[in-house]
Symmetry: C2
Subunit: 254 residues, 2 copies
């Protein structure tokens, strides 16, 4: 997480700029460039969502060019929610890191340790889905376990164990739509970084999320916003405003 | 599942030919063409694995050409283990069906119903990961639930409910490495189709898997093999032999 920590300190920002491009091909390339150029001063990280690129002709090329446009000092998390094992996961890691040039990925824990560890390469970040922001996720993630807690707790424990065994680099994805769940995840994982979608368009409450999820050092959360910035008349101003809102609630400047 | 059922009957086969291409670019294109041409008479379905294509330059183009080479009457399942929600899942569905031309996909249930249903479009098949063939999967899938059973049971129940509500088209992925688990999944989902990896290279026992997983009509399983066919001197002969081995244990010819 070195690159991320340096960037968070340098930019004094916990904002992750999500890139979920929609629109026709000519518009999209131009808008991606605009959003990156206008927001990068305020971004702790960028998070392109793989699905929104694959659904276009030449989407992999566009994704690569998008990542190349992002300044080298800012980490890029490829949101692919990869979820396959061992040998197959190695191929996804090669795609994300070597072909696309990402610094990190999101992964799905359903297939266990060997769906996570192949992505935890030196200098790379892995965010494991624990508690996601969509309501229907409750049918699996909230299921109660005989040993206590829910499945999302179990995913968080697996991720923490792997992070400790691996010497860092493994964080969680924790949706902002339920601040209580954010607090619970923080209690289970006091040190790990959380990538937090769901503020803004999905209705998550920023202040409650920060209160529940920030570490005592005022850090440890990456607050992702995609649509709000994509649709803003001035994406730079919107990003700056978000960073200010977030920093207002950070107990200590990092 | 109409296209699959017709194909299974026509070819008298439950063999799914997995395409996990390895090797340098020139070799791979040639070998993919060979494997498809030599095995298609024996194939109930083909299953290209997305990771093995994305990890190459121009992998999406190769995947598309691969799918185009497969005869129209044989269903193609894109093994992407997609696991994202709603709007994002729609983009993956567009990729799999419109850009690649697949007839079905594999999906990950961790994010719940809205990570599954966007793929269940008319005429398309969705195979939901329930019990996978890798050992480390136990850390999540075998976790015991207070309501009884394990997480993989819960995933199977979710998939069955969605299949019933949706009028069909939703099956399961059930690994062959544990025949007892195959039987358990069959008890929970008496009617659904199972896509079954793990026979062969991963050590699953074919006979025990068929005994535990076949429906009384001698059908309902797609037995996937990838490496054995890819590495065979004569992929056609190897596929024919597998089909004969499988059919030996089917109580009734379909």
């Amino acid at each position: 997480m070195e690159k991320l920590i340096q960037r968070v300190q340098y930019a004094n920002s916990l904002l992750c700029v999500g890139l979920d491009p929609v629109g026709d091909d000519a518009q999209v390339a131009r808008r991606l460039a605009e959003v990156i150029d206008q927001t990068h001063d305020y971004a702790a990280a960028f998070k392109p969502n793989l699905a929104f690129f694959l659904s276009r002709e030449d989407g992999v090329k566009l994704l690569r060019e998008t990542v190349q446009r992002i300044p080298e000092s800012i980490p890029v998390i490829l949101d692919g929610k990869f979820g396959d094992i061992a040998n197959t996961a190695d191929h996804y890691a090669r795609f994300a890191y070597d072909i696309i040039g990402a610094d990190g990925v999101t992964v799905n824990p359903y297939m266990g340790d060997d769906a996570i560890l192949p992505f935890a390469l030196p200098g790379k970040m892995v965010f494991v889905l624990a508690k996601t922001s969509n309501k229907p996720a409750h049918s699996l993630q909230d299921v109660a376990l005989t040993r206590g807690g829910s499945l999302s707790d179990c995913a968080a424990r697996v991720a923490r164990k792997l992070d400790e065994e691996h010497g860092g680099g493994i964080g969680l994805v924790v949706g902002a739509t339920n601040a209580e769940a954010v607090g619970r995840m923080r209690a289970l994982s006091p040190e790990q970084w959380f990538l937090v979608p769901g503020v803004g368009a999905q209705g998550g409450d920023l202040q409650a999320t920060l209160r529940a999820g920030l570490r005592p050092d005022g850090s440890g959360l990456l607050i992702n916003t995609s649509r709000v910035l994509w649709q803003a008349a001035d994406a730079g101003a919107a990003a700056r405003e978000l960073v200010e809102q977030i920093n207002q609630f950070r107990p200590v400047a990092v």
